[in-house]
Symmetry: C2
Subunit: 327 residues, 2 copies
């Protein structure tokens, strides 16, 4: 068993990188987590660190080395094989003894593959960002949204957090309804209430605005969980609207029946987002919903495919079960 | 006449700084424009450069020096006398011979004072940002919006430009109506149409998204003029909605009749924004609308007040007329 074929699937997301070491039969023999692994987000050096850390941890339990790995498949947003731009990662892998093949896949393809091996189907991912894709012949055929926090990602964690921030600011500015989100956000940010006013405006509002502009805009996504935690009509309206936006994105790529893989924290929780999502989909909701944690299993599956291994739903089931042992 | 009392009003805006040199009678004897003068936006050194450049140009025509100026009143967002934080500017003025008094005012107070000397009234400014204020006893008593591009500024140039960008992105993503804004924005950004697709998405959309994220978010305000130039239902809807938001901000501070000073480029043009603004105000639109170019005249007027000069509507008329000679 020491010399069977090994593949590595890498799922490099916005906050961490996961690596799955698998045999050709889909048995996970190692799993590791590293820092952020997308060079677009953190630059090539830090991204390679994130990937290599995850890979090293995945190799450790079986005491294997990179020289024994035939294929590494790295799934991440915005990096594709056709770009021929994987040098930032290949050089580092080769420096560690890797002499196999490196392939890139979309992170959305990895999410889909965590839930299904069908050649036709859909994936919707709503984490910090949000997008929906249609898979056909094992490749992405259509994409909706995923346009980033400034231009799209409607219904995403950022979108929800941004709406939360604006609702609180409008509450304090007496330009919108009072909401329990206000106290929650102020407490979350460590801002003490201060009723004194300057130019007719409470100091609390000034401090909140300063605090929110001091961070990068994308960090507003950190306010999204507050909307899920609080029972409040304003919060519920935001969450329902998010669910509707996500349904609209999915409908934009929908052409016929198929499995629907659902990734990311926003749709994984029961509550107003998912309720509104399902309601908005209506009859289209007859889709087979397959929730997945992330794209780690799928990255492993894509690595198996890239290595020429036969991949069936049994392979996926085996990989899911054996990856679960490690986390 | 060589030794009459002189005051300097400085209006430091988002893109340039204007200085008005005035006699105690409100006769402008010099006017100058410099670079950006707000230390929050560009740091204290560059801001002081912007102010000093404008001041030097204002002194030039009459060959006066800063040592002859009794009061400098600097109007800008976020700097107020009570902050006691004017050292960045006072030191530089004193280095040029100034031995008088430096006072700070809100930029909104300067805009108001460009249009009215009444102790009670309103100002609404919609340029890159947007806010409305109520003036009472010659000071700002209530403020609505002005919360910046990420959290508010509804109806502002940024708000319009952001909506334009999103409408175009949604058009190209087939997630919203077709709009003539699309060709206009692509041409404005120098992006050639490219119908080839990747993952079901036109390359044109990818390039547009890259281009928009490469700039600072606030630069989306540069797309706002396209909405004014193009006859298109999507553009008109955006502009009308901007006008409604601006009316809502004004209504939030409205308590009774008074002059309404209107500043900034968004409301200064006739068309859908102003039409929707006036319609939304309804009966409240019986307000006396006073359009002003900027806060330069008002800064001069505030400098006169700070210097103890008597200020009447005749003083304002004189200052407006004599400033106009210089620009």
């Amino acid at each position: 068993m020491g010399h069977d074929m090994l593949m590595l699937g890498v799922d490099a997301g916005g906050t961490s990188t996961r690596a799955v070491l698998t045999t050709a039969q889909g048995e996970c023999v190692g799993y590791g987590v590293g820092g952020r692994g997308n060079p677009i987000a953190v630059g090539p050096d830090r991204a390679a660190d994130g990937v290599l850390d995850a890979v090293a941890l995945a190799l450790a339990p079986s005491a294997r080395t990179l020289s024994e790995v035939e294929v590494v498949t790295a799934a991440m947003a915005g990096q594709r094989a056709e770009d021929g731009a994987g040098g930032w990662l290949l050089d580092r892998l080769e420096a560690e003894g890797f002499s196999g093949r490196l392939t890139f896949e979309s992170d959305l393809m990895a999410t889909y593959s965590s839930g299904s091996v069908e050649p036709f189907g859909y994936a919707i991912v709503a984490g910090t960002g949000a997008s929906a894709v249609r898979i056909s012949d094992g490749a992405i055929e259509a994409t909706a949204d995923g346009l980033g926090w400034l231009l799209g990602d409607r219904g995403s964690g950022f979108w929800i957090g941004h709406r939360v921030a604006r609702a609180v600011v409008r509450d304090l500015d007496h330009a919108g309804p009072a909401t329990a989100l206000t106290d929650a956000v102020l407490e979350h940010l460590g801002i003490a209430a201060d009723a004194t006013r300057r130019e007719g405006r409470p100091r609390t509002l000034e401090r909140l605005v300063e605090s929110l502009y001091a961070a990068r805009p994308i960090e507003l996504a950190a306010l999204a969980p507050l909307a899920f935690m609080i029972d409040d009509p304003v919060a519920e309206r935001i969450l329902r609207r998010a669910g509707e936006h996500l349904a609209d994105s999915l409908v934009a790529v929908l052409t016929g029946p198929g499995p629907l893989v659902v990734g990311g924290s926003v749709l994984s929780r029961s509550g107003p987002v998912r309720d509104a999502f399902v309601q908005r989909l209506g009859t289209a909701a007859a889709l087979d919903l397959l929730p997945v944690v992330d794209g780690a299993v799928g990255a492993g599956l894509l690595a198996l495919r890239a290595g020429g291994a036969a991949v069936s739903s049994e392979t996926l089931a085996m990989l899911r079960k054996t990856v679960a042992r490690f986390r």
